[in-house]
Assembly symmetry: C2
Amino acid sequence: MSNKDTAPHDDKITRKPFPNSKKIYLQGQIHPQIKVAMREIYLSDTKNSISGKSRPNEPITVYDSSGPYTDSSKEISVHKGLERIREQWILERGDVEQLDNFSSEYCRERLQDKSLNHMRFKHLKMPLRAKKGQHVTQLHYAKKGIITPEMEYIAIRENQRIEEITSIRKQHKGEHFGAAIPERITPEFVRSEVARGRAVIPSNINHPESEPMILGRNFLVKINANIGNSATTSSIEEEVEKAVWACRWGADNIMDLSTGKNIHETREWIIRNSPVPVGTVPIYQALEKANGVAEDLNWEIFRDTLIEQAEQGVDYFTIHAGVLLRYIPMTVKRVTGIVSRGGSIMAKWCLAHHKESFLYTHFEGICEILKSYDVAISLGDGLRPGSIADANDEAQFAELETLGELTQIARKHDVQCFIEGPGHVPMHMIKENIEKQIEVCDEAPFYTLGPLTTDIAPGYDHITSGIGAAMIGWYGCAMLCYVTPKEHLGLPNKEDVRVGVITYKIAAHAADLAKGHPGAQHRDNALSMARFEFRWQDQFNLGLDPERALEYHDETLPADGAKVAHFCSMCGPKFCSMKISQEVRDFVAENDIVDKGLIAKGMKEKSKEFKKMGSEVYL
Amino acid sequence: MSNKDTAPHDDKITRKPFPNSKKIYLQGQIHPQIKVAMREIYLSDTKNSISGKSRPNEPITVYDSSGPYTDSSKEISVHKGLERIREQWILERGDVEQLDNFSSEYCRERLQDKSLNHMRFKHLKMPLRAKKGQHVTQLHYAKKGIITPEMEYIAIRENQRIEEITSIRKQHKGEHFGAAIPERITPEFVRSEVARGRAVIPSNINHPESEPMILGRNFLVKINANIGNSATTSSIEEEVEKAVWACRWGADNIMDLSTGKNIHETREWIIRNSPVPVGTVPIYQALEKANGVAEDLNWEIFRDTLIEQAEQGVDYFTIHAGVLLRYIPMTVKRVTGIVSRGGSIMAKWCLAHHKESFLYTHFEGICEILKSYDVAISLGDGLRPGSIADANDEAQFAELETLGELTQIARKHDVQCFIEGPGHVPMHMIKENIEKQIEVCDEAPFYTLGPLTTDIAPGYDHITSGIGAAMIGWYGCAMLCYVTPKEHLGLPNKEDVRVGVITYKIAAHAADLAKGHPGAQHRDNALSMARFEFRWQDQFNLGLDPERALEYHDETLPADGAKVAHFCSMCGPKFCSMKISQEVRDFVAENDIVDKGLIAKGMKEKSKEFKKMGSEVYL
């Protein structure tokens, strides 16, 4: 037994709050019991270098996916799991019941296996399930006109307190792609988007620890971080730490893609300690149960796996139900064939049995399970392109048509549904891809992996894909699955997760700016003002990765004095454009020559005076 | 005297060839004396895992900016400088003369200063200059219908031997933005684009060491790497090494932005050892000569600086001649004022003197100097936006109008001219920016810094800007000025230069794919085929940074066996989609069921057989 297979240690889990930041909780109005977690960043004063006067700067509130891990007032133990903030909301709806035991056979077997005791999460609760005949999904409530606490939570969260800050929202002179984001996100708007099927709130009733978040093109673009061990590497503790680390840096959502041993136990630890929704690809575990032989998979194994994971609290399942027998030969002439793991497993199954996969033939049965727990379905793109040469080809778009059909079936069952997309797509073909998805899948949210815009940079695929991700986010993609620098090469470590997440936060935020989300630009403005005023610490703290920014700054100018210096190492004091620019601004402002017409008059009189001021006013 | 100020050492300069690669030289047809340097990457054989047969793979030829540094057959000494490959071409045109001494007063002073001996480049040659009345620019020749050796070199280089490789060029179903790239780049096409002013070949007659390259939207997108020391840090040796390092990783061009002491000597070392064109911002050095007091700058100092640098061999000058007095008040209400160093220096000068800058009033004089050496002019965007809030504003576009006027003046003088652009621009405003530039500046090549698509990620601005760079490259931008992770925080070190260059190579290449450049996609295809066939070493070697890819792979699977393994650490052997996909392909191919119509028949018969093959065929 290796030390991979033991319970994680509390002291290994990152708990540091962000610098100069405080966790705040905003109360709901429709549902006063909800407390929306946000991060407030405190700023230093602006000092006028001529008058010497100071002016305070209002704190900036930002969206915060890090959960209680950055709240130093909360006690956290990975062994107990996070606070179950949604439990009362769920119970108060009166449509669920607590079971006496887990419904999955496999789950019960694992629980009885004493050899697993040392790695087991101890504080297991019995699962909830819909009462007979009930659909407990957010889509069901939305259709009925009910604004749930989850919906109000999301509305407050998405707005990021924009009323409290000076927002210079960039006018939308550029291209816009059909998104219709209101000036203010209301709970009713959230409800209507969910009811329309244009947005999804992944929120399993058995994952009450998660803070509600929404996927949809009229909301902030979300990002997903994949974690999970594989047969060749990594431990439970590492995976829990990666999950916490991912949320800390901004993952709105994580997927546990474990394929190694003990993935049932690993997943329990991750879900109980995850403040964000957790997705999985159940076919991976089902394949483990079939000893890795794709042909031996069947509906019974898969069904039991769905129930096992639904009762643990997985918030959405990726299911590759669109891989049809007749599409498989379309992949043969590709440069890279089938690159989706789930897709290739199902293709193999289909060929071996010469029939359509049980995912497709039992799709209604899948929906029956999912609506009893509010597990959302992420329709997997098993035939996505794995190279530039294969982008937007016949196989990809044929499968997409089938995903469109399945979307309608899921919606009929009140199952929340979104669609996965590629992969590898050159820039000029990205728009065609999402336009087709929006059309074929009736505006169901799109969730893409990148896409990578070139194949030639292994080691840098967070960047090749970050480009495509930003673009497709702008075009309306709801969630971006991150890619780390290790893509195609190895399993990401903690630092890779950090770089992958930050890269994708950048892509998502760039997309939010371009979409004109009302809660996006205030952070850019605050940071740029800090930059212009040489408030170095504020510049670091307002950034996506304050620690990295500080570290880079200190590499060249480590002295504390440099944090208040009115220049930096790049240009040095004499060449600082910001400094000169400030002088120009002060001069023009003081001489009241903002109006161009006045410049001739104002200037002539004052040019000598300005000359006297010289370049020394700021030193 | 610190060790910053000494001559560089030969043994410190990177000279390692790329793995499995050879430098090759292609001969010209019109000009048989030219030898176009390219890199040939050798690939391993493809092995059919069922039949055991091997099939060789043709080597791939790629564009190579690394110069002789990656040619192990060349002897190089930084003290002698690189081979002067263009010298004969220049002399044979018969329109230049060698001077007896340097024309710049400052240069002569420096040469007489014995205290600088220890840091001086020893093998100085006397400069060339146009004979009286001659214009020695590529634009002049192009207008006259002359195809120069530089033009043929470029045509061969841009094609990347596409006739020798199997190219699956992606059909252009997506959006295209007016670029008109032929299926094959001919010398005549190069000439016509230069004559039209739509392309520029930076090629100072005093920098014969440089390998010709072209900037224009109908060619491969180029990238620039900024190097140069500042008052607070770095040495001559470091800067030369950064330059070599930058070219190695793919910089098509470098800018020496030194602002510290001894920038004359530093520049000499850089130019003599640079296989790519070198640009500068002469106002930086002029300001040093004016002791850092912007108001004390004047045309005489500037003029002497232009001549000093032109005779050293600088290939293009950034000149901020578009900062007019009436534009300055437009920047006052900005969030970040003026962020260009050159722009702020000139703004300060204009305000102090209350008149238009000498760059504007002496623009014809500048052109007179430039056409005597074929220094191209890069019209600086002194009023570019420094934040999302300031993008595409009145000040920026007002200056652009002036740059358009100056473009026409430069062209009148046969001076090659291109235009600098921002900066910080959200995604939805990038297209407006370049469309305006193309219109106002009559299709002169655009050269942008990024643009950064958000302000909120200090420490990751290579990525925030890489997104914008890829997009604007696709829209037609000719050259992308890199941004390193240290942007806004500190001066880049060698590793930052590497990451910045690779990020920008990605952006440029993604743009080339999207533009449909005929020489772009073959490398993606070759790499993806290698990936699909588990030719790990080929995958690394075909990538932009082979060493980094290998290093990442080895972090999880260091064993040599893993380099031939038919799986990787991400999925492990059982879950490998590529492996399963290969099985599917082999099965479908062997059973001749590529035609969908045949699948029912073919499958039914063979499904049992496939089942027997199981998942073990590849292990």
